[in-house]
Symmetry: C2
Subunit: 217 residues, 2 copies
DNA sequence: GTTGGAATGAGTAGTACTACTCAATTTGGG
DNA sequence: CCCAAATTGAGTAGTACTACTCATTCCAAC
């Protein structure tokens, strides 16, 4: 089917998982396979070798998959990137798409889907886990809502982003104020503005969002 | 080295990861390999087939690895169980050991370590990721402290456990009170007792512990 | 059949965060 | 240079949780 060997990067910090992906691909498709165990090495290999396709884990030591996508977006690199993650968080999916991901696969996905995704993306298409598609449709949060939510997250200022990062580490307002050399009142005001932008209300809704979506900040 | 084929169960909800483990073992060691994609199937296979060794993920749909260990503890089943998880949480490790795990491996572990662990455990020994051993030693929380902490967690009453479960789902005191048909004051008192047992103090320390150690409840 | 743990509930005081409004200063881009 | 956005800070009121103390009921084990 595919006349030439596909060159492929597998980036994941779990050696056993990389072995699974590698052997699955090799068994069914001739391919030149590169491996990376952290985000920095993955980025380096993509820039130096420009493989046809890269299958990248979202959460890795060093740079996350989303950070790699952001850095390569509009950089002229032709490598097509598929995110492969265990996170069913739809916000991560919308973020990935918004920074140029060509595919989004859940780790719970069947072996067959990975081959399919690599082929399709290699030929210029896009691939999304059917399980995730179902989630997007079924969930109470409808599609438009979530796209808007990602736009809101992207609209956060750097001070606001900083606070979300610290919140995702369970820091209190007091601690954040100390770290940023600000008054507690300032942090409180930033929090209020963030909650406003993200349409969050109630007790610990903001810290919950920060922790459940920490890769977005 | 090993005269007879080892029979081995691999339980993990990620097909690609199972493929990695399976092929890694098969390449280097003759083995009869079974697979399970969730906790219930894993438990069923262990009870029916009693494989020599079972490599089980901590977090799975259905029963978790820790729940499987608890159910099999003192049940007479001879299968030796190795937990294989990405969680570096030392509390999970101490809990696993306290319910009879023979090995505790991090997913970031080298391929070689898995083979080693299976062999050692098969022959009656125990195996712990060197990375985790390092963590246990280095961390500010010393070994004795953490063992005591697990004893404290195990000493929680059923009402207290229930509250920790609900807290790990970000429920507020108000919501928990409604769910359990209690007064908010009762929940507050239970929370105080739990914080006392676990030696937790300050703002959101209890909900943080509940979320970061949810598999313990 | 009493004793101790568990579960239930309350009083009171203090801290942390939310939910509004308002305002001064700083800074980057047209 | 100027304007809009970002950053910084505060007033006030209310809610959620912490940190103690204390009391009642229930149940199971000795």
């Amino acid at each position: 089917m595919t006349p030439d060997k596909i060159s492929l990067l597998i980036a994941d910090d779990h050696p056993l998982f990389r072995a699974g992906v590698k052997q699955t691909i090799e068994k069914l498709e001739p391919a030149e396979i590169y491996e990376a165990e952290d985000g920095d090495k993955a980025l380096q290999i993509i820039r130096e070798i420009e493989p046809d396709v890269a299958v990248i884990d979202l959460r890795m030591p060093g740079k996350t998959g989303l950070e790699i996508l952001s850095e390569l977006y509009n950089s002229g690199v032709t490598t097509k990137i598929i995110l492969l993650t265990m996170h069913k968080n739809v916000n991560y999916f919308y973020k990935a798409i918004s920074v140029g991901a060509k595919g989004y696969l859940l780790k719970e996905t069947a072996v067959h889907d990975l081959i399919e995704a690599v082929k399709i993306v290699y030929h210029g298409g896009t691939f999304i886990s059917s399980r995730l598609k179902a989630l997007i449709k079924s969930e109470k949060s409808d599609e438009v809502q979530n796209k808007l939510l990602i736009d809101s997250v992207n609209s956060l200022t750097s001070a606001e982003r900083q606070i979300m990062k610290l919140l995702s580490e369970w820091k209190t307002n007091c601690e954040i104020a100390d770290i940023l050399f600000n008054s507690t009142r300032t942090i409180e005001n930033h929090r209020a503005n963030i909650s406003d932008k993200l349409n969050l209300h109630g007790a610990h809704s903001l810290i919950q969002f920060a922790i459940e979506n920490r890769e977005l900040f």
